[in-house]
């Protein structure tokens, strides 16, 4: 009785799967076209994050983006990759490079956020 299959959950998951890129809350809300409440979308996304189905990153626009990143699916969840946002087309994609930043002695990493914005190949 832990988790239930609801329309909102399956549609949001489907959208994230199809997108193959990171989506913001409002992009999802637009795609859902009123079929789910604002708060519900936020809650579903947060649930997916804690369940480890998707990962969250914060853009340099201060907004949260959610992605179902392909290569960190089954493996030990490692999200030390950068995200790229195109100013023109607005898409936010996961970049393949895994980054290692060496922190000062004694520091412990809990969360990694790498974000680059600019113009993608199609829009540059």
């Amino acid at each position: 009785m832990n988790s239930r299959n609801t329309k909102a959950k399956s549609v949001i998951l489907q959208l994230l799967k199809e997108a193959k890129q990171a989506l913001s809350h409002d992009a999802l809300q637009a795609a859902l076209a009123g079929s789910a409440d604002r708060a519900t979308i936020y809650r579903v996304l947060n649930r997916f994050c804690t369940e480890g189905i998707i990962h969250r990153t914060v853009g340099d626009d201060g907004k949260q983006y959610f992605a179902l990143c392909v290569d960190c699916q089954e493996k030990h969840h490692q999200h030390n990759h950068f995200h790229f946002r195109c100013f023109t087309c607005g898409k936010v994609e996961c970049l393949p490079n895994q980054i290692e930043v060496n922190l000062p002695k004694g520091y412990r990493t809990e969360n990694f956020t790498g974000f680059i914005s600019g113009y993608c190949a199609a829009c540059a």
Copy 2:
């Protein structure tokens, strides 16, 4: 007649100099203790950014942090470094490492944001 010396500007600059780390708007506001208006602080910070005196980064908490980073002062402004935020003490510091991320062909970088949060040596 481009820029004027005002109390707000000099105090905020002074605070950023003393801090030797990135400060958020509300940290500055607290330090200013009512001696400057919310909106003024935001405006001064934005002005400093466009003047190139300080740089802005967005934390994984979605908040903006402003720093007068030492090593990118006079040089050609290069802010491809990571910032680290400690969950416990809350400080946000600039990490020395300059990062190079190789983007897909044809992509143009406009903005770089690297943010790591966790526990600093003193708090871990």
